[in-house]
Symmetry: C2
Subunit: 259 residues, 2 copies
Amino acid sequence: MAGFSRFLAVLRLFDETASAWTVPVMSDALGVPSSTVYRTVRDLVAAGFLEAANDGAYRLGPAFIEYDRLLRLTDPLVAAGRAALHEVVLQARTPCVALLSRLYNDQVMCVADEAARETPFRSSYERGRPMPLAQGATSKVILAHLPARQLNKLIGGPKDPRAAQHGALRRELVDIRKRGYCSTASEIDPGLAGIAAPVIVREAGIVASLSLVANDSMLDESQRRRLVLLVVSAASLVTEALAHTRNPPSTQARSRLVQ
Amino acid sequence: MAGFSRFLAVLRLFDETASAWTVPVMSDALGVPSSTVYRTVRDLVAAGFLEAANDGAYRLGPAFIEYDRLLRLTDPLVAAGRAALHEVVLQARTPCVALLSRLYNDQVMCVADEAARETPFRSSYERGRPMPLAQGATSKVILAHLPARQLNKLIGGPKDPRAAQHGALRRELVDIRKRGYCSTASEIDPGLAGIAAPVIVREAGIVASLSLVANDSMLDESQRRRLVLLVVSAASLVTEALAHTRNPPSTQARSRLVQ
DNA sequence: GTCAATATTCTCATTTTGTGAGAAATGAAT
DNA sequence: ATTCATTTCTCACAAAATGAGAATATTGAC
């Protein structure tokens, strides 16, 4: 391990349950001499990615807040999505949370969320939290619209030992793609239902989903149909907006996008 | 330039007005061969700090969203502040924005904000946006509570050429510290007033301010007094919460904290 | 104040790693 | 098939990170 990976390794130590680290402890955890860790930490502090807490401990630094704002302002998906989410929670006329989510490595991550007023519950999907790939309407819609090759990498191709278990999932995904949306209940949070529709802009390498989370017990059939329509139309509005913000899909490097 | 600074230099290219860069353009802007930039970009993409857009361009990546959430959950100031801001905008009973801000390099940055319902305006202070040090109640409260040495570094010591101009500011800061809060109008946004109170926890190296932004024309004297009380008491609540979350301020490394 | 303890920085010989110029490869569009 | 821009690769070289330990700086306790 060396160079950039040293910095990544230090940052990756920090998570919800371990939010402050001292140099000796990092040194132990990483198996790297403390003099090296001191240098790494000093650079990260200078850059604002870490900052000194008390007792010689360090925590994540404010640079992440700054870059998060930049991304919020400039990322086409997030920018287009935030306005749409606002509309969705307004028009839903029921306690709910609206989410915009995307693929992130081999997980799904929400990149924007908005709750309706007086919404008494929270969704497990929250901005910045990686979530499982194969559960919940939000994730399944994304899976359903991945290119075959990429899907195989993620859930294992036909010769994967657990291919049998994936059979049902794959059939469900085909169905979702046909239908144009996905509706689930209690797959992630007990008692909560999810309704999700795809936001796909291939030329931009964008594969995302717009979803609504509401109390399952408060949804009768007509209500559910109304919300499905709301989510589907909001998702296509976002798709439209993204398709038009695009620079002309002119030259090369298309493959990189789809990754 | 080399090593870590190469990565920082690439990330620093991105801002509100330049949100997508191609490798050749970066290479030009940085004066670094494109083969090197390609390697740097590849590493940043692998880490999620950049991602491929279309046309061979790159934009900021989703890792910032992930780390921002971690920080939101684990940073003591942000965690303690968010609850307080929520209370403040509820009890303000007027359109307003509540902010929690801190020192960030030689600027002031908001780390948490919340708007009251139906607030028709926005404050220039917004989460993650660096703001000037010497304007606005939010910033001045922070300046007023900085250790003398640090203040001198920021606004220039007695022998600074522009020392004369700082005389008035320094007197104002002394006054703010005595008073325990700061109230300004139209210093940042025309027509908006700011009311700020300090959140100081020296042992933790925390120097921050909690502030409220409202329409100046809607504030009569009694209203203003009420809001000052609200802000001051919310700020001391946050201070209390932080003082207690502290690990025993036992061993060393106190100096690093104050930076 | 002195002292002990710990965090942090510094030094330097060694080795690894990044660097840079150009060639080669990739993949999409014509 | 060919063209074009993007991206990766190669390799000799220079530069930077590494690690062990010493030196320094701070702090809390006495």
